[in-house]
Symmetry: C2
Subunit: 693 residues, 2 copies
């Protein structure tokens, strides 16, 4: 389907004044009947038109024979009939003028070829009649703010700020059940299913208002990456967005295909996309649930310093390990606060962070210690750890924490650890909207994500300035068109080197030589070692026929090598072998979903050992490039390793911006990868350049 770059009007979908439902039978266990019951029970105040040709009415509710039989054009059509029939109904509705439909039916793309045909048909119908279709293969939506439950799942009991977009109905269902148990309210919940028409971007666009709405996205596919980035850059400024997207493993990719028909892109790019859009990423289902709870207070974590107050030494030690693991740090307790702690706590307590109020602490002591650290401006967040010891006043401690949370700006995350004994305390925390975690490590994880959101949203507005790197683009076009004429998919060595030359970038010195004497002269001038090869053809082919010798370090070996590989009718070529310096990989690839992406990291042999893939979306800025380089692992080598000097990276920046300009001006180039480029103290050599066209 052609995606129009315009916002869908989803008001009629999510706040309909009238709803028609197809597929309501007398069997109360069937989906249609359940949805009807849910709509009524949720408190919906608009008109309801159930459709079934065989039923006149049920109770006071009048039924209609078909869509065409309806007394008005309803804002929303709910479709609960099998796939084939669903398409017919949606088309009928389109003709009738209906603009919004929820299709519950399964049996589409997730079911293989036959289903895919049906889904394409549904897409075409939606496009022809301009219908917003939610689904198919979805659970519907629940708009608690407007008291409307258009799902065949449970009602949401409590309204609050949280919003959920989930491609999986089951995850939504489980979250609602869990949320009810811990008093976590929900504002809106939309399940997307196969996303034939309406996708996550449409929903986020529709929601893009002010307010504060933590928003969780469970996605098996990204519908339009570039649009998602643009939308999130606005949306995630006010609303914490946390995204759970599986697909790191081969098995998961196959499982997604058979679940919602989703096809996964390269996963690592998504990390960068989410970060640059001001959102945060979840790794596991527990992250998704826990962050739903963690963001609800609306409190901001604006710095990394965590104070831990505990009645239990062991868990505090474990928490400390985790604080470092997740990039946070233990807040320093300054002298004033320390004195207050010494005054209030018993002699055997620990006055350095983590602050151990001891196992025999009553609620008052716990509260006093908490208040002392909350008064410190250097404390960005607080974790309260409680285990049910002999004298522990569990409920009272929970009450005191609730009050302190109202009084002070920092978030207090709790971990009351145990089972039955701590349950009453947990309930109090839940009621007061204080996040409580089964284990303190989870509290730390969530704090780190709150802080990550705070940092990411600061960085959303990069100043976008495409650098004006100058080169002769006519020559570039000539190289490409020549290669195309030859039906090449990859530039050959000669063409690649020519390209580097046009861009004004450095490559190893190379010369054609007539005889051994000239070759020795070259080596003496340019330094050992050298590479000797027969000229012409591509490198791979030459290697196969034994036409290349690398690592020549002496005249003796150069002479022997020359004799060995020289051939009639071929010229000989000698090349400087760049040694020393730091090998990097540098490339730009056009991602089908997110556009061109720059890759930087350790190159050559090291690339095999070090996972050092640092990505940035184009367009680049100096800041983005700088952060990419300094975050990389190979930066340890560039920044003065052992006795080596710090490398001047001016030439590296030059190469990067040259490649960016090349990719922007030359859509024919699919991908460029330089591995290795070698950064020396003078130059950055593009040694092995691969250009896909």
């Amino acid at each position: 389907m052609l995606r129009l770059n315009m916002e869908r009007d989803l008001l009629g979908m999510f706040e309909p004044k009238s709803i028609a439902i197809v597929g309501v039978s007398r069997d109360p266990k069937k989906v249609g009947a359940i949805v009807l019951k849910n709509i009524i029970r949720s408190g919906y105040a608009g008109k309801i038109y159930p459709i079934n040709p065989n039923i006149d009415s049920v109770g006071n509710l009048k039924f209609y024979k078909s869509v065409n039989d309806l007394p008005e054009i309803p804002d929303l059509l709910v479709v609960a009939v099998p796939a084939k029939m669903a398409n017919i109904v949606v088309e009928e509705a389109g003709k009738f003028g209906i603009k919004n439909a929820v299709v519950f039916s399964a049996g589409y793309k997730e079911e293989g070829e036959e289903g895919e045909i049906l889904e394409n048909e549904l897409k075409n119908i939606a496009q022809n009649y301009n219908i917003n279709v939610l689904g198919p293969n979805c659970l519907g939506f629940n708009n608690k703010k407007n008291n409307l439950n258009v799902t065949f799942g449970a009602d949401i009991k409590k309204s609050d700020s949280l919003r959920i977009i989930s491609q999986s109905g089951a995850i939504a269902t489980a979250l609602v059940d869990w949320g009810e148990t811990i008093n976590l309210g929900i504002d809106s919940l939309v399940t997307l299913g196969n996303k034939a028409v309406v996708n996550e971007n449409d929903i986020l666009n529709y929601w893009n208002d002010d307010g504060y709405h933590p928003t969780g996205l469970y996605l098996e596919s990204i519908s339009d990456g570039k649009e998602l980035i643009n939308i999130l850059k606005k949306y995630a400024k006010n609303n914490p967005v946390f995204i759970l997207k599986p697909g790191k493993s081969v098995g998961a990719v196959a499982a997604m295909m058979s679940h919602t028909g989703a096809i996964a892109g390269e996963d690592s790019i998504l990390d960068e996309v989410i970060k640059e859009s001001g959102a945060v990423r979840c790794e596991e289902l527990s992250d998704f649930f826990d962050l739903g709870m963690a963001f609800k207070s609306g409190k901001i974590v604006s710095g990394p310093s965590v104070a831990v107050v505990t009645n239990a030494g062991g868990p505090a030690v474990l928490t400390t390990d985790t604080i470092e693991k997740y990039g946070l740090k233990l807040a320093k307790i300054n002298e004033g606060a320390r004195k207050k702690l010494i005054e209030k706590l018993p002699r055997m307590a620990s006055f350095v962070n983590p602050i151990d109020v001891l196992g025999d602490s009553l609620s008052a002591r716990f509260g006093e210690a908490l208040e002392i650290v909350l008064q410190e401006k250097s404390v960005d967040s607080v974790v309260a750890i409680l285990t049910p010891q002999l004298m522990t006043e569990i409920e009272k401690t929970a009450e005191i924490i609730s009050k302190l949370s109202e009084k002070y700006p920092q978030p207090i995350f709790c971990s009351f650890i145990g089972g039955n004994k701590i349950a009453a305390g947990e309930n109090i925390l839940n009621k007061k909207n204080i996040a409580n975690f089964d284990y303190p490590e989870r509290a730390i994880f969530c704090l780190s994500k709150l802080y990550e959101w705070y940092k990411n949203k600061q960085n959303i507005n990069y100043e976008l300035k495409i650098t004006n790197y100058e080169f002769n683009s006519e020559v570039v076009k000539k190289i490409i068109s020549e290669a195309k004429k030859n039906n090449q998919k990859v530039l050959n060595n000669f063409q690649s080197n020519k390209l580097m030359e046009v861009l004004g970038l450095d490559a190893p010195v190379e010369e054609k030589v007539a005889g051994v004497a000239e070759a020795i002269e070259f080596a003496k001038k340019n330094g050992w070692p050298v590479v000797l090869k027969i000229s012409g053809g591509d490198l791979l082919h030459k290697t196969e026929v034994g036409g290349v010798v690398v690592d020549i370090r002496s005249e003796y070996k150069l002479k022997k090598s020359f004799e060995k590989i020289k051939r009639d009718n071929f010229e000989m070529q000698i090349q400087q072998q760049i040694e020393g310096g730091v090998e990097i990989i540098l490339g730009i690839k056009r991602d089908p979903n997110f556009g061109p992406v720059l890759l930087f990291g350790a190159g050559g042999k090291m690339a095999e050992l070090v996972k050092d893939r640092n990505l940035r979306l184009l367009p680049l800025t100096e800041d983005k490039v700088k952060s990419m380089i300094t975050e990389s692992k190979v930066y340890a080598l560039l920044n003065g390793f052992r006795n080596d000097k710090v490398y001047d990276l001016t030439e590296l920046y030059k190469v990067i911006f040259a490649l960016e300009k090349l990719m922007i001006e030359t859509p024919e180039i699919e991908e460029i990868e330089i591995n290795p480029a070698i950064i020396t103290h003078d130059k950055t050599f593009c040694v092995d350049v691969k250009v896909k066209i």
Copy 2:
């Protein structure tokens, strides 16, 4: 205290026929009174002698004035008085002939200098009178098997196989409360506190019987590493042992010091120790709790293949990612099973693993799918994922799973995801000893640990054969004693090279040269590049005074360098600069706790980038060395990277066994590190050798 290498007799501690308690006051909230109450209430059948000079009796219970006043020597003395007085009481008890004491009192080593003096005093008393002291600063122990609760915490309700040793009383308390909630029984629980006398090794020794007892250890310090390894090698053969030990971060090390006075050793060695001993390691508190639950069924995970059966697509996709992350794999469903699944499940279900029985599945369908995969011998374990959807029969499904678990040998781990709706199902699983996890990722984590235990315990019995690498140990002794005479802490370059020569190991070719012509001759013979240095003194010093030039690649540069650094009264030295090949690090260090440990990994520049620390405890075997090398990251380079040939590692093995023999025969050497050693296709060059003495 001198640790005697003999087993403590702890029968009187854990199965006493008589117990005396010091510190029982009339205040029922004080520790002494609570312990007394706990001992009585837990059903203890032996004699009880409360001691308080000011009380004659309480109810029917006669009190005694002091230890000396007791009518017999009790098997166990419980001490619940402040630290200073506790020491006096224990000494009195020692004189009286008491052999076992539990000391609850805090205020010892965890409290700084003053407390450390008290703790040393307590240790001396224990040694003088041969008393087994548990604690101080502990919560006591709970021996459910013998109905004896000697803690001031809660009773354990249910007896089962699980055993816990915890240095933290709070973690034990929380685990007992959590365990009660999920029907997790406990056999024995011992809290160690400061471990002044009795430590984890003593407890494990005492427990070392047959049976099956999953055993969790929370330790802030390891008391005697070598002994622990020996004990675990026996104990962990039958009993899964899972160890939680914090201390990866700087902050945690400080926090442990003020909690139980524990001093942490290097953390990474512990991973290797645990693995080699046949145990598994936890990272977080949730791991510790969850493994307590996961091991209870006693079922074995003897292979990596997991079958997932689910009524929810999304969570199954996430689970699949996790299976790969934790080194397990999705079980292949063979054609026969697939046919059965197709027969039993609806058309839209997923018949490849993960098997999606669909959201509308009733319990029967869920059970049929489970049974089909359980019948497959290729399935090593099963995960059942359930979300509370419209028609889900939660309790019935739990019942069916329980029955299948009794019938088939594979473990079935469940993840019923949600809150109130799934609670009743959870309860059934808990009652039937089926592990149920809040999130499926936790189930996978635990399965991976069950499998890890299975693998680790297979490897416990290495055939220990110290290789007979031959060298002239007299010369080695001479080198060392010479260095010692000079008060050196590190061997100099000359001595290290000499040492390598004696061991018969290769180092770069080196020659003294009289003039430039000789130097050029050397370079032409041995190949470029070369290193030129003034002779004598240590390398560091020479570099400082500009007496070294590396990376000389041409005659021109060699001539210039020679002129530049040559000095009157100094000879010149020229050395082959080894290029190409693979740089590794190789070292043996004497760990104070676990003895000599071999380190192997990527070396040179790469060591800075790649975390590639692979450790093995001495003594080595060929198998151990082989697994160490193949598990390393640098192995990717050794095993034929790109066009490079596979490296023959015979020379590397030779170096490793030479170093082992050197360390065993030369206790004067504290540490040896070669970084880099360079592995080429001919040789392994020990380029930069550092020997600490």
